[in-house]
């Protein structure tokens, strides 16, 4: 004869006992009012738990997640954003330096009388000549090698950022696979 404990009653309720054990519990329940009461309460709880209602999320829940999925798909990744901003900043600074150099070269080569005695047309013509001379100077001999060096540096920096971005993307992909 098995001792009818709470554990046995739970197993009886779940149908986990052997036929012989189940018969013993059944006869035990028919002879003990206390045991019968305990079992009935357990059964009642078991049934009421199956009647449990689901809680509901807010009505816009699904749309909120789908919007996030869509916006993430089309959003530029953070790493890529930094890359684009840094390259754009570098190019802007480079243009400003070249522009400043050209302007200062024009001003220093132009005759001092500009704006005093000559007409506006002459001034424009002087400025154009100055610009052409400066550009010729810039893209010939040592000027060309300086510009070449700057662009090479730019390409190397871009390559570095691109390599880093690829590396991080690969790392993110492998992290996702471990979940």
């Amino acid at each position: 004869m098995i001792q009818i404990t709470d554990e046995i009653l739970n197993k009886y309720l779940d149908g986990e006992l052997s036929r012989e054990e189940a018969e013993q519990v059944k006869s035990g329940l028919s002879t003990s009012e206390e045991l019968q009461k305990k079992y009935n309460a357990l059964k009642l709880i078991h049934e009421k738990l199956f009647d449990m209602k689901e809680d509901e999320v807010s009505p816009a829940f699904t749309d909120k997640i789908m919007n996030q999925i869509v916006s993430r798909k089309f959003a530029i990744p953070k790493q890529q954003k930094y890359f684009i901003v840094s390259i754009a900043t570098f190019i802007t600074l480079l243009c400003l330096v070249i522009f400043g150099f050209v302007i200062s070269a024009i001003i220093s080569s132009a005759p001092s009388s500009i704006g005093e005695s000559k007409s506006v047309l002459d001034s424009v013509s002087n400025l154009t000549d100055g610009l052409v001379t400066t550009l010729k100077h810039l893209f010939s001999g040592s000027g060309l090698s300086i510009i070449g060096s700057i662009f090479s540096l730019l390409i190397i920096i871009s390559g570095y950022f691109f390599f880093e971005m690829q590396k991080r993307a690969k790392a993110n992909l492998s992290n996702g696979q471990h979940l």
Binding site: D6, E7, N10, K37, K38, N40, A41, L42, L44, I45, H46, K48, L49, F50, D51, M52, K53, E54, D55, E56, V57, S58, F61, T62, K64, I65, M66, Q68, I69, V70, K73, G176, Q177, H178, L179
Partner: protein
């Protein structure tokens, strides 16, 4: 479309039909929310964590091999996220063994008068919210989500016998509470 299996929907999402993921969300959102709400004891946190779970699952869909059921895989994400949230709130997280050995006293949370005023359904609903996190998770997965003991053990990463011990303990506590109330005379 709504009768498709989880695996078929996932395959469709993987092929680029991302809008099909909304079927998965609608299929699991309320059940998972019920579990999170009972574990975290807070509706706002539960919804926030659930949102993260769906996004996490979406981002990891390619790593879902289909060896286990999608529901088991997803509830594992939900359960682990709830534990992470609880630990971030610096609440006590028990290890597998200590949680089984742990005792909780539901009766101290309820006085006799309060019990007598409620009907049994409301009482059961309220008491489940008072259970410790892991116990309420088991009750929700077993009764509401109708998952097998084996699936629950897979989700919680504990043994089948430990799941049974925790389930029986939860039921016994609820039963004792009902037995000690006047509701017992009316219902049993």
């Amino acid at each position: 479309m709504r009768n498709l299996s989880d695996q078929e929907i996932i395959d469709s999402v993987r092929k680029g039909n991302e809008s099909d993921y909304s079927i998965i969300i609608n299929r699991y959102k309320n059940k998972a929310f019920s579990m999170l709400k009972r574990m975290l004891k807070n509706e706002f946190d539960a919804e926030e964590v659930l949102q993260d779970c769906f996004l996490k699952a979406y981002n990891s869909l390619n790593s879902f091999k289909g060896e286990a059921k999608f529901s088991t895989w997803f509830y594992r994400i939900v359960y682990n996220s709830a534990l992470t949230k609880l630990s971030s709130q610096k609440r006590k997280i028990e290890t597998e063994m200590t949680s089984v050995e742990d005792h909780f006293d539901l009766e101290s949370n309820y006085n006799a008068d309060e019990i007598e005023k409620k009907d049994i359904n409301e009482l059961v609903h309220k008491i489940i919210n008072k259970l410790p996190e892991k116990y309420s998770a088991i009750i929700t997965m077993f009764y509401l989500n109708e998952m097998s003991i084996e699936e629950i053990s897979e989700v919680m990463q504990i043994t089948v016998s430990n799941v049974k011990v925790m389930l029986h303990r939860s039921r016994n506590s609820l039963r004792d509470l009902v037995l000690n109330s006047r509701l017992a005379e009316e219902l049993i």
